[in-house]
Structure formats: structure tokens, C-alpha cells
């Protein structure tokens, strides 16, 4: 299966976290930021930690970098236990959310900083910094100060400053958060290209599900200090493990009820849940649902409702359809042919989708 862990042998493991836990004392109370995380990140993988703010993703990354010490658990980099190793002695580099470029140094000196600390020879520094600036497309800007550059350029300096050290893994803490949408999308592809070019393991922290889906080989969705689901982007989107994941990644509709004989009755409608009995929650993605004026025939899930909102969104229309029990279902319809809509506000419609698009959680 494509979504399976790419780890075959232990030597492929770039980063291992074993039951890592982080506690803080805040106002006399013990707060657990990370409540026992276990994961393996493979060599050369683009791995994302995704979740809302306060879910522990940044703390997890800072423990990998060495800025925070785990209260419990072990962190290994390429098989070596680094749990007590300070950040300056770890073979990983980080790109900070604020970029943290040294304001009193030129672009060149910023990028050369790490190599100078390692007492690299002058010629080698010259060669490697030059090469790296070429990769991030900043040749000719060596003498600039960080504040004289745009956000996107600063971002690339930060990337070059970390990558020039040829770390075993690169850690990125919401690096695109400060950029506007267009630039962010361009940088996503750019990051992916650079990662392929240098072949280094990337660990990427973000709260932006689109970013994670676009770039990652695998994603760990975190909530309240725990991993909710760890899988490839496709699996996370198509088969969310929990209702939280379903709600956090993309838009999804949740239907709950009691199934009998593989069918969940919702008012006059039905949702097919083959082989399921008893209490179930069903999620279905808005783009899997077909909207029609007539009751659909055949072996599909079908629900009647009333259109309560139609929003034109350019590439697609978004409908809100209210069911008899008051629940609202979101439906996306591609604008494939013309700009007309299938239904208007107030119309009675039928929603239908194939059985395989119901993703059932629970018994």
C-alpha cells in the first residue's frame, strides 16, 4: 500500500521518538504539552506535524532540535540517543517561524555562520555558501542585510543558513506562516523541490492542512499532546481515523445514528454502512456528494433536504443543505460546464454518494 510507513530497516530511521512526554509547571500546575509521542521518521522523508495551536507539535519539534528536554522518553537521531545532547551538538538544523536571521550580519555571513562555528576552511565556506545561495536563488544578494529583503527572500536565507550545514534532518517551524497566500503556495512547491534536490529529511510543523497535504510524504495529526493519526496525506484525507481528524483536515460532514443491517436511517433518507451495526459516526467529504432534484435510484446513500445557502467560489459551488433533523450538509459541485447552479436557495433536493465514500468510525 502506498500509504504504508516507508521504513523498512532500522538504518533508514532518521529520527525516532519513543514515548516522549513533556511537562511544564505553569502557575503551580503541571501541564502536559506532549503526552507520550512515539514515531519514526525515515531518511529523506518529508514529514509533517499538523494540528491546531497548543496541540504540542512545536514542543515536539523543539525537543528534536534540543531546545526542550523531554520529561520522559528517548529521542534518537540516526540510532544515536541524543535525549541529553545540547542543540549545538545535534546534527539537525532548524528554520524558525520568525526566521531568526542575525540582523547585524549580511546574507553571506548569516549563511556562513554554521560553517564558521565548525571551523570549516575558508575556501570550503566560500564554495558551499555560494552553492547554497544559488539553490535558493539569492546569488548577487550576498551583501544585503536581512531587513533590506522581502519576507520571501528572508525565508530563503533562513533555509540556506540551515541547509548549508548539510544536516541529517531539517526542522521547519511554520516557516511560511508570515507570507501571503500566493507566495506561500509558491514556496510550498519550492520547498518540495529543494528537499528533492538536497535529499535531506524534512520535519515540518504547521497548522495549515493544505500545506501539510501538498508537501508531505507522511503526516502526524496531533491534538492535545497526542498523535491522532499518522499516515500519508491521501489516507488522512480519505480515511480519517477520528472525528477530530475528519473535521480538521478539509471540510467534512458528520452523520451519527444507529445502523441496522448495514443501513443508517436518517429521516426519509438512508446512509449505506455495509457490515456495520449499532452506534456509528459516518464522515463524507463534500466533493463526493452529488446533488439532484430527483430521488436517486440504485445502491447509493441518499438523503433529502432543503438548500439553505449557495455560494459561488469560482472553481466550484458550495451548497449548504439542511436535513429534516436540522443538520447541515456541505456539498461541493465542480463548475465544469457553465456557471449555472443545480439548485437555488429553498429548493428541495436529494443528496447521494457511493457507499465507499462513507467513512465509518465506531462499531
Amino acid at each position: 500500500m502506498a500509504d504504508q510507513s516507508p521504513i523498512d530497516t532500522p538504518t533508514d530511521r532518521a529520527i525516532e521518538l519513543e514515548d516522549v512526554l513533556k511537562e511544564y509547571v505553569s502557575h503551580g500546575e503541571v501541564v502536559q504539552a506532549v503526552k507520550g509521542v512515539t514515531l519514526d521518521i525515515a531518511e529523506g522523508e518529508f514529514f509533517s506535524l499538523l494540528g491546531p495551536s497548543g496541540c504540542g507539535k512545536t514542543t515536539t519539534m523543539r525537543m528534536i532540535a534540543g531546545f526542550e528536554e523531554p520529561s520522559k522518553g528517548v529521542i534518537r537521531l540516526h540510532g544515536r540517543d541524543v535525549t541529553d545532547v545540547p542543540p549545538n551538538k545535534r546534527d539537525v538544523n532548524m528554520v524558525f517561524q520568525s526566521y531568526a536571521l542575525f540582523p547585524h550580519m549580511s546574507v553571506w555571513d548569516n549563511v556562513a555562520f554554521g560553517l564558521k562555528q565548525k571551523k570549516t576552511s575558508r575556501e570550503e565556506i566560500k564554495r558551499r555558501v555560494g552553492e547554497m545561495l544559488e539553490i535558493v536563488d539569492l546569488t548577487g544578494r550576498e551583501k544585503r542585510r536581512p531587513r533590506e529583503m522581502s519576507g520571501g527572500q528572508q525565508q530563503r536565507v533562513a533555509l540556506a543558513r540551515a541547509l548549508v550545514n548539510r544536516p541529517r534532518a531539517l526542522l521547519l517551524d511554520e516557516p511560511l506562516g508570515a507570507l501571503d497566500l500566493k507566495l506561500r503556495q509558491a514556496m510550498q512547491l519550492e520547498l518540495k523541490r529543494i528537499q528533492r534536490e538536497v535529499g535531506i529529511t524534512f520535519v515540518y510543523v504547521t497548522h495549515d492542512q493544505n500545506e501539510a497535504l501538498t508537501m508531505s510524504d507522511r503526516i502526524a495529526v496531533m491534538k492535545d499532546g497526542l498523535i491522532e493519526q499518522l499516515a500519508g496525506p491521501r489516507e488522512i484525507y480519505e480515511r480519517p481515523a477520528t472525528t477530530f481528524v475528519a473535521g480538521f483536515i478539509g471540510t467534512s460532514n458528520l452523520l451519527t445514528g444507529t445502523a441496522t443491517g448495514g443501513v443508517l436511517k436518517v429521516g426519509e433518507g438512508r446512509v449505506l454502512v455495509p457490515g456495520k451495526e449499532g452506534e456509528v459516526s459516518v464522515t463524507v467529504r463534500p466533493e463526493k456528494i452529488t446533488l439532484a432534484k430527483q430521488e436517486p435510484s440504485g445502491d447509493v446513500s441518499a438523503l433529502p433536504g432543503t438548500v439553505s445557502e449557495v455560494v459561488y467560489l469560482g472553481t466550484y459551488n458550495s451548497y449548504a443543505v439542511r436535513l429534516a433533523d436540522g443538520d447541515e450538509i456541505t456539498v461541493f459541485e465542480q463548475n465544469a460546464h457553465d456557471a449555472t447552479v443545480t439548485a437555488e436557495r429553498g429548493d428541495s433536493v436529494w443528496l447521494s454518494w457511493q457507499a465507499q465514500h462513507s467513512y465509518v468510525m465506531g462499531s
Partner: protein, 263 residues
């Protein structure tokens, strides 16, 4: 309507601004002018013609010259000590959370708000009861004491506004604690450190009150001037004052130009 009232308001603001500037500059202008006064009588209070001779005879009064040298030495020494200790204090208070932080913050504030008279008197009784002879060293200690808080506050303000991930980035790139401090932290807080140093120097060079308690038999520049008020202040004092003021202005200009180049 707005135009008429606005024009009148603008003129009023102009006039007010110039009055304030005049008020601030007038004493300095008088000081500078009387450094060029060709005075014949003992007092240097009435204008008697222009001369440059006091600039030529700047060091003609040995006691005054000694006092000025004393003041400069004490100012330099106390500034160096204050900047080193004050920077460390400012860094600790701005960057870290530690036991006794609240007390330290309070002491820093107390040092600023204590009247100089009280500080001078208590320092004198301390030195006397500890049997410490009063000389340049006790003056320097006193000056460090009252300027330390100002340096601390200036550096702390700079440290607080500093992105903490700068230091983390340095460590992440392989710099140890000392390399991080020398190559990243110190250059980043340098404007605060320099501002603190200038403050410390300025506070030291013209201090009278505290110094007058702990000077023993040593005379500093301000002490000498006050002592000579009765007999008439010689124009050399105006000249020295002018030169010190000139250096201050020069530093301010250099700083402004550097700041403009930074942004």
C-alpha cells in the same frame, strides 16, 4: 474655516516650539559665549569683547586641570565597570526567570528613585564606619552605584525586545554559549549597551551631590567649579564645558547618522 484656524494654530505651535528650544539652548549659548569673553575684571559676567585667549590658556589653572583629569578618569573607569555589571544584570533580568528577580527589579528601581543626598550620606557613613579612606576609588564606587540602574534598565529594554529565537538559532547552528553571546547576543544589544554607557558617562562627569560626600580631599571638575563660585568662575571653565558639550553633540550626530544607515 479649518484653514484660518489651522493657520493660526500652526503659527502658535511654531512660536511655542521655538520658545521651548530657546529656553533649552539659552544657558548653553551663554556658557559657550562667555568662553570667548575678553574679561578684564575678576568676574566673568558682563560681555567685554571677543577673544580666543582662554582656549590658548585652557590649562593655565593647574588645580582646575587636575580636577578635570580626575573627573575624566573617574568617568571612564566608572563607565567601564557600570557597563559590564549593568549589561549582565540587564541580560539576566530581561532574559531569564529566577528566584530573587522581583527583589532585584525593585532594587534597580530603588537605586533610580533614591535621592542623591540620601545616597551620598549613607555611602559616607558606610565608608567611615568601614574605615575606608575617601579618594578617587570611593568616588568611582559611588558613581558605579548610581549609574548602574540606568545602564541595567536600558540594556533590559533592549533584551526584552530581542527575538529569543536569535540565540536559539545560533546554538542550533553549532555555536556554544560563549560564541552565541559574543557573535549574536552582544551585537544585538549593542545599541542598548552604548546608550547605557553614554548615560553612565554623562551622569558621572557632572555629578556633584554624591561626589561631595565621598571625595575626601580629591576635587572633581564639578566640585572645583562650585568651590570657585565665590571667587568668580574663570572662563576656562566655560571653555571646558563647551568642549565637553561639543563632544556630546558629536556623539549624538554620529549616533543619528549610524541609526539612519541602519534602517
Amino acid at each position: 474655516m479649518r484653514g484660518v484656524r489651522g493657520r493660526f494654530g500652526d503659527r502658535l505651535l511654531h512660536a511655542y516650539t521655538w520658545l521651548i528650544i530657546l529656553w533649552l539652548v539659552a544657558p548653553i549659548a551663554v556658557m559657550i559665549a562667555f568662553g570667548f569673553n575678553d574679561k578684564q575684571s575678576k568676574s566673568n559676567a558682563t560681555w567685554q569683547g571677543f577673544t580666543l585667549k582662554w582656549y590658548g590658556e585652557l590649562f593655565a589653572i593647574p588645580d582646575l586641570s587636575d580636577a578635570l583629569v580626575n573627573s575624566l578618569l573617574i568617568a571612564v573607569a566608572s563607565t567601564i565597570v557600570t557597563v559590564v555589571i549593568g549589561t549582565m544584570l540587564g541580560l539576566a533580568l530581561g532574559r531569564h526567570r529566577f528566584r530573587g528577580q522581583g527583589t532585584t527589579n525593585f532594587l534597580v528601581f530603588a537605586a533610580i528613585s533614591t535621592p542623591e543626598l540620601v545616597m551620598g550620606a549613607s555611602l559616607l557613613s558606610l565608608f567611615v564606619s568601614a574605615n575606608v579612606p575617601r579618594n578617587q576609588i570611593t568616588i568611582t564606587i559611588a558613581h558605579v552605584l548610581f549609574s548602574l540602574a540606568f545602564v541595567t534598565v536600558t540594556v533590559r529594554a533592549r533584551v526584552v525586545s530581542l527575538d529569543p529565537s536569535l540565540e536559539e538559532a545560533a546554538k542550533d547552528l553549532g555555536a556554544g554559549p560563549w560564541a552565541t553571546f559574543r557573535q549574536v547576543t552582544l551585537p544585538s544589544i549593542m545599541p542598548g549597551v552604548l546608550a547605557g554607557a553614554m548615560l553612565a558617562f554623562a551622569l558621572s562627569i557632572d555629578d556633584y551631590v554624591v561626589t561631595s560626600f565621598v571625595n575626601g580631599s580629591e576635587l572633581t571638575f564639578p566640585l572645583w567649579i562650585i568651590a570657585s563660585v565665590k571667587t568668580g568662575i574663570p572662563p576656562q571653565v566655560n571653555v571646558m564645558g563647551t568642549l565637553i558639550f561639543g563632544v556630546g553633540v558629536l556623539i549624538a550626530i554620529v549616533n543619528a547618522v549610524a541609526a539612519r544607515r541602519r534602517t
